[in-house]
């Protein structure tokens, strides 16, 4: 559609808003959809890297006394596998969906701070590169993803491996914080007229909650890592036992961040599933309010359970009991959500497309992971399971069985919206079944291995401990997962060889993003929609079922020749006719580069830090003085 008719009747060219082309346009883009695409492909790349690390781990453990990799390399592999999957795959994959969907779902043209959004992406990319630089140097981080003090002190980690982790995590934290401020403000402040809080899609609610969690939890990590940096570079004594320093302080600071982080990883997937299940059940979400408040409850409780990661460090019976009870309480809101998802499907007109299968996979696998979580909420049980493969099984059931299945549901569901092409259903179903079988074959036996005593993080084991068979089985399972991911890659790549032509609303969705074209125009909505319900499109499409209220479009008589989903007809109360889109800008890239140099200086040479600070300084002023929007920003 090159031209569109506005309410006022004049024909405006949409050519002026066509997506610009070329590398430079991607480096300077502030469009939330493009930034979302960048997040999506970067995080999928790191998902593959983290997956390869996992396969190497499994090859080493396939048989007893194996010497496929050295103990040292093994340490680097499991550290980087955890770090990569958490910070470089699942979090940014969720961020990809925040970027792609939040403005569309709330009926906005972009996020509140488009340049800050670009900045978040570049900082994420640079942090990801920094943390992986260790591989080139031959010493990747090797102290585990939670980098326990004082294993990370200069005394026990003299090499540069931990430096890469410290600096990389610090930079990634800044990226997460910047993006959280942005989405918090966007969701609170940029909603379309009529979209009250309780009319927001559940995915938006979960995004809001995750943003709050990031804002409140990441500073603890920032402080913890800062103290560690100071210990390593400036000889402070925070975690040095000989000087009365307390390694336990690290554990508290880390898990005050680390447990909310678990919900930062799972809530976006819960949001996705809460969008997918209703669509493929042809029923609105069962108990919308309960699902929303259960999410809020999980987040609130999430701040009072961190020490359940530390039951075995000797905090004493009172703290152990308090944290144990708080942890068990989390089962309540989580259970509410699960019952609501089942209630959504109950009696629905179910259609088992790939997004639906992935979502059902999410719910069922997450139940298993949730149940084992309740088991080690009990300190005596936890003392048996701590640091064993049982724990590895548990968190993979929530992070892979939960987050990854949920995120794949989202990928299959929204792929046509952003790329204009549907993914192949046959390949999608093949991927789902392979992934479900491979996932369970890999991780279910780990429960058993843990219970019969196999500790985590050992690079090899002796024969005759009864661990051989299930380790081999698990390794085979891991390769089945790899096969499933290969099927996904084939599916994704071959989708780009097809002509664009996905319908605007292929799944008969209920939320605003399906009212835009596929892919959406840079400005998303020609007219800002007006919303009267939390299922605005269904109210419009099925007035006989969902009431007779005129819905999010005020229906100012669309021309007959226009297709159903044309983007106009809304009473234009206070918006003027111009669409103001933010300017492309290279300043976010410059500021991010300054941060990269500044932090890289801690590893290489402090000269770099000063150069970085100078670049940062120039970048911040360039950013502040540059007008954000298209027209000259003058008053007088």
């Amino acid at each position: 559609m090159a031209t569109q008719v506005t309410t006022a009747g004049q024909v405006v060219s949409t050519e002026q808003f066509a997506y610009p082309k070329g590398i430079w346009s991607w480096l300077t883009t502030v469009d939330h959809k493009r930034i979302g695409v960048l997040y999506l492909f970067t995080s999928l790349t790191f998902f593959l890297i983290g997956g390869i690390e996992a396969l190497l781990i499994r090859l080493q453990l396939a048989s007893p006394n194996n010497s496929f990799v050295s103990a040292d390399t093994y340490n680097q592999l499991f550290t980087m596998h955890g770090t990569t999957m958490i910070f470089l795959a699942v979090m940014p994959l969720s961020a990809a969906f925040f970027n792609l969907l939040v403005p569309l779902m709330i009926g906005a043209r972009d996020v509140a701070f488009p340049r800050l959004n670009a900045f978040s992406y570049w900082v994420f990319l640079f942090g990801a590169i920094l943390i992986n630089l260790g591989w080139l140097h031959g010493s990747a981080p090797d102290a585990g993803w939670f980098a326990y003090a004082n294993l990370t002190s200069s005394q026990y980690s003299a090499g540069q491996g931990v430096d890469y982790w410290v600096v990389g995590v610090q930079v990634l934290g800044l990226s997460s914080l910047a993006s959280a401020f942005n989405f918090l403000v966007t969701i609170i402040n940029m909603r379309a007229p009529g979209m009250t809080m309780m009319r927001m899609p559940v995915f938006i609610w979960m995004t809001l909650i995750v943003a709050v969690l990031i804002v409140m939890a990441f500073p603890a990590l920032t402080v913890g890592v800062t103290l560690l940096m100071f210990d390593r570079w400036f000889d402070t004594l925070f975690f040095v036992p000989e000087a009365n320093g307390q390694p336990l302080l690290w554990q508290h600071l880390f898990w005050v961040f680390g447990h909310p982080e678990v919900y930062i990883l799972i809530l976006p997937a819960m949001g996705i599933v809460s969008e997918v299940l209703p669509t493929f059940s042809k029923k609105p979400l069962f108990g919308y309010t309960a699902v929303v408040f259960a999410g809020v409850g999980i987040a609130a409780l999430g701040f009072s359970v961190w020490a359940h990661h530390m039951f075995t460090v000797g905090m004493g019976p009172v703290p152990n009991s308090v944290f144990s009870i708080a942890t068990m309480l989390i089962a309540l809101p989580t259970g509410i959500k699960i019952f609501n998802w089942i209630g959504t499907m109950w009696g629905g007109d179910l259609k088992f497309s790939t997004p639906m299968l992935m979502s059902i996979g999410f719910v069922s696998m997450f139940i298993i992971g949730g149940l084992s979580g309740v088991m080690h909420a009990s300190p005596p049980v936890d003392s048996q399971q701590q640091d064993s493969y049982f724990v590895v099984a548990h968190f993979h059931y929530v992070l892979f069985g939960g987050s990854i299945f949920g995120l794949f549901a989202g990928i299959y569901y929204w792929w046509p919206k952003f790329f204009g092409r549907l993914l192949n259903e046959g390949l999608g179903k093949a991927q789902f079944w392979l992934m479900l079988i491979g996932f369970n074959a890999t991780f279910f036996p780990m429960h058993w291995l843990g219970v019969i005593g196999m500790p985590r993080r050992i690079y090899t084991y002796e024969e005759g401990l009864n661990w051989d068979f299930w380790n081999l089985f698990t390794t085979i399972g891991a390769f089945v997962i790899a096969l499933a991911i290969t099927v996904f890659l084939i599916n994704a790549i071959s989708s780009f060889r097809k002509e664009k032509g996905a319908p605007d609303d292929p799944w008969d969705g209920a939320t605003l993003e399906w009212a835009t074209s596929s892919p959406p125009a840079p400005y998303n909505f020609e007219k800002v929609p007006v919303v009267n319900s939390n299922i605005p499109l269904w109210v419009e499409k099925y007035p006989e079922v969902y009431g007779h209220e005129p819905d999010f479009r005020d229906m100012a008589a669309p021309p007959a020749e226009e297709q159903e989903t044309v983007e106009h007809g809304i009473e234009d109360h206070h918006h003027d006719d111009h669409i103001h889109m933010p300017n492309a800008s290279y300043w976010p890239l410059v500021v991010a580069l300054g941060l990269l140099l500044g932090f890289a200086g801690f590893i290489f040479t402090f000269v770099l830090t000063f150069i970085g600070a100078a670049v940062l300084f120039v970048g911040v002023y360039g950013w502040a003085l540059e007008p954000a929007f298209g027209e000259p920003d003058h008053i007088y």
Partner: protein
Amino acid sequence: MAANQGTASPPIQQNIIEHPTSTGLDSRKLAMWCFLASDCMFFGSLITAYLVSHNRAAVPPYPQGFFDIPFTSVSAFVLLMSSVAMVLALSGIQKGNMRRFRIWIVSTGLLGLIFLGGQIYEFTEFHHEGLGLDTNLFGSSFYTLTGFHGAHVTVGVIWLFSLFFASFRAPLVTKEKALNVEIAGLYWHFVDIVWIIIFAVVYLIQAG
């Protein structure tokens, strides 16, 4: 939050190309509040690290009786007064009185600089008395906590002087854009409040 479809949104200020927001609050102001919430957790964690560390010094100097309370009281007073100046600067720009704005914004920045000077003097003194970053846990946690606060003040001072100089270029800092000053003010007051807490926790309670 009722449907804001029918309710009157705040009129769009002429030539400011912002869409009306759902809450009526400016997005940048809201973002600053979110940042301050986050910074609360940042300083909360740092203060906690100080509280659990400072009394575990393995070698002297120990925190008891170490501080020069009258000196730091004066610099704390200076920082508090800078908040008053900040309020006056904001009121100046909101009334379009550029002269008042400039006088008070510079005063705020200068008071901030005096505070920083006091901190540098204090750090130097403590260093002469044998307290370094790597001397003991008291030194490590004291310098880290107060140093990060000082870094916040430094950023604030740069920001205040930037506003001062920007006010000579008409479009940047004007009556209509008083919000730019108000947001800097939020940050500045926050940094002051944090100092009240640090002053009480680190200096006064220790002295008692």
